[in-house]
Amino acid sequence: MEQIAKYRNGNTTVTIMNDGTKIREYENAPEILHPESIDVKITDYCDMGCAYCHESSTTKGVHGDLNKLLEVIAELPAGVELAIGGGNPLSHPNLVEFLQALKANGIIANLTVNQGHLKTFQDMITYLIKDELVKGVGISITSNNFNYIKPLLEITDNIVYHIIAGVNKVEVVEKLIELGNCKVLVLGYKLFGFGVKFHSKEVDAELKRWYKKLPSFIGKCTLSFDNLAIEQLKVKRLFTYEGWNKFYMGDDFCFTMYIDAVKQEYAPTSRSNKRKSFAECSLLEYFSSRNCQTE
């Protein structure tokens, strides 16, 4: 593993390796000045029409102002990660220039795309990976046709499959494991956006199947979870006390936050209604206003 970034943030030191590994070190309790990573929505435009989309993205969605976004995040040091998504972020006309600016500033850009867009945007994604404009590539899994994933696996080890527990059948993990070098991010089911209307007894039944099957995947792939999935699937049961303290990276809005670049708003997470506009305060002022119990 090769170190690609190291920075000091308050009393913590963060090191990031080229396989995505992040090591956070501190004495006593962490007291940090800026987020380690930010989820960023750069567009509301998407033509996939996912019935459960918690961002409520449609073909009527508009793009965010990425120059304004660059101004907002200018305070962040090299090594901070952006998890860029949408909508379909690949549809944003200024995406490449934006990523080039991030790279020049040492910001680590990770991009999440929908599996359904891989065919159309294959050349563009390949270029972004090969030119190291993005490091991690999240692919939202929407079908069992993995033909357009395989070429990407040949050029990077940093593909992460995004799977929504309750929407995706749990068996999809077994199929993805067969592709090799399987890294899975399990997302909880969000009762937000279109996810409110899509929610059903079938979703809850599938969540129960996920709960039951989850342990059988350990040791077969790299598993990660968002905080909602941790809660819904009771992920803590899989860990020893020591293991949990070592691998749990913190509650929402402790080390992370969310930016909606379309509406030009800050929020703790993408499913939070407690938002503040860019005009009201700077990113660091907003981040310092949080009440994180970890600290």
Binding site: T21, K135, G136, K183, R209, I218, G219, V235
Partner: protein
């Protein structure tokens, strides 16, 4: 303090990669371990934490009147520097009349059909490495259920492991 996100970049566009279970899970030995009584009946569940696995083992041993094996395990773990405590069995916590009119004792903890646990209990009591792996490996777990559940759960893993099945 050190926290580690292993092997993935932050690609989540909704909240945060909060926890990661990597392929090379390690044996984690705790400083202290408490053996408590549990209730392991018909419910479908997965026992993965050290405390749950310890409780399952302890409850199974006591239900099979194998207190001497409990003592051996406690001594073995203490020799390894682990501070071990056990929940005192509360016999005659309550009694109930069976259908046959006999009086039965419930000690507040049980494993359904615990008399079928012999193979598993023998394995971990007779083999120290199996005991340690069972208790402290992140890759060891127990799936509980019942024979009325239509859905079978296979222990479908590709790493080296031992598998025990308790019927009913």
């Amino acid at each position: 303090m050190k926290q580690i996100r292993k092997g993935v970049f932050e690609t989540n566009s909704s909240s945060t990669h909060s926890i990661c279970i990597a392929k090379d899970a390690e044996l984690t030995i705790p400083k202290a371990l408490h053996f408590s009584f549990g209730e392991f009946g018909w419910e479908c569940d997965t026992l993965y934490s050290v405390s749950e696995k310890a409780s399952y083992l302890y409850t199974g041993l006591m239900a099979n009147k194998r207190k001497e094996d409990v003592d051996k395990i406690v001594e073995l773990l203490k020799d390894k520097g682990i501070e071990v405590t056990t929940e005192e069995p509360i016999y005659k916590k309550y009694t109930y009349k069976g259908n046959d009119g006999g009086e039965y004792i419930d000690n507040g903890g049980y494993v359904d059909h615990s008399d079928d646990m012999g193979d598993f209990l023998n394995a971990v009591c007779e083999d120290e490495s199996k005991l340690m792996s069972y208790l402290f490996s992140d890759l060891s777990f127990i799936i509980t259920g019942n024979d009325n559940d239509d859905e079978d759960v296979d222990i479908n893993v590709d790493y080296a492991h031992d598998e025990y099945y308790k019927g009913n």
